[in-house]
């Protein structure tokens, strides 16, 4: 198993490349989830405020 992680002495380089791959794509995958939630939340509170202003 340790032989697998050592990657014939290139472990640091190989695993760093894979880490970059996963970290960058994880950020890319989460970003639209946040954007969608924020857009809906912002519009929702705006509509609520408008409704409160218009009701007597």
């Amino acid at each position: 198993m340790s032989e697998f992680f050592a990657m014939g002495g290139y472990g640091g380089y190989v695993w760093a490349a894979y880490a970059v791959f996963f970290v960058v794509l994880a950020i890319d995958a989460v970003a639209p989830v946040w954007q969608r939630r924020r857009a809906l939340r912002e519009l929702g509170t705006r509509l609520k405020r408008q409704a409160a202003r218009n009701s007597p």
Partner: protein, 258 residues
């Protein structure tokens, strides 16, 4: 009208696209994840060591699929930008602008993983080789498109200006692709080819092709997810988005049927 053409027209409507993409997304993410796991197992465990590079060659399983994706993402962005400029289709503007950050992410991974291989194999993190330089220019083009899009207040004008920049940048794509043929410098030539023989053993090739397929599926998933979020902001005055937003603030039940 032909039912396929009719469906394609329907897909151009933002509320229909939003629902359709939302249904498709979980499947795309699942396929991309499954493909990555199979491809990574093949690349890291099953494939033998290279006779010259030992195990350092295994970083190609992230480097090469991401490099292909960087070009594919740019082409996708430019094609949608072209449609947006000529026919002014709102969804094409959105798709083009949604592809830019995903393409930038893939280009960044390509550059960093290449650098991490270059250090032990070439003895340097970076060199101004034609392939490396043109790929760096590709990253700057993506960043330029993203920056221009966010610099202009009116979203639709911003998308058209950024699409124009994306179209000009297409000139860089053949430079990236043919750089290893036109200039004989450090970066190695093409090993895998669609037509003709690939100069790589099958046990090393299949994980690479599996990962290439998985990253393509992931690209479309990410673009669709980003487009959905962008359409909500673009169409915030429309009834379908207002209904969704009201559902969001009052609890999730209201949004379920849209």
């Amino acid at each position: 009208m032909n039912p396929l053409v009719l469906w394609f027209h329907k897909l151009g409507s933002p509320p229909y696209f939003y629902t359709f993409a939302g249904r498709l997304l979980p499947w795309l993410y699942a396929v991309a994840l499954l493909g990555s796991v199979i491809g990574l197992y093949g690349g890291l465990v099953v494939a033998p060591s290279d006779y010259q590079q030992g195990d350092s060659f295994r970083m190609i399983y992230v480097h090469v699929p991401c490099a292909w994706m960087s070009l594919f993402a740019y082409l996708f962005m430019a094609a949608n930008g072209f449609i947006a400029l000529v026919w002014r289709i709102k969804l094409s503007e959105t798709l083009a602008m949604a592809a830019a950050p995903v393409g930038a992410a893939f280009t960044l991974i390509t550059l960093v993983s290449g650098s991490l291989w270059g250090k032990p194999m070439w003895g340097t993190w970076w060199t101004w080789d034609a392939r490396l330089t043109s790929e760096l220019v590709l990253l700057f083009l993506f960043i330029g498109v993203i920056g221009l899009y966010h610099a202009i207040e009116d979203t639709r004008q911003a998308a058209r200006a950024a699409a124009f920049l994306a179209l000009i940048g297409v000139v860089n794509l053949p430079i990236v692709h043919y750089s290893v043929i036109w200039w004989n410098t450090l970066h190695q030539g093409q090993t895998v080819s669609l037509m003709g023989n690939s100069k790589i053993s099958g046990s090393m090739l299949w994980p690479l092709l599996t990962l290439a397929a998985a990253t393509h599926v992931y690209f479309f998933a990410s673009v669709l997810a980003r487009s959905r979020a962008m359409l909500l902001s673009l169409e915030s005055g429309k009834d379908w988005v207002r209904a969704l937003a009201r559902g969001e603030t009052m609890g999730r039940e209201g949004a379920a049927h849209v």
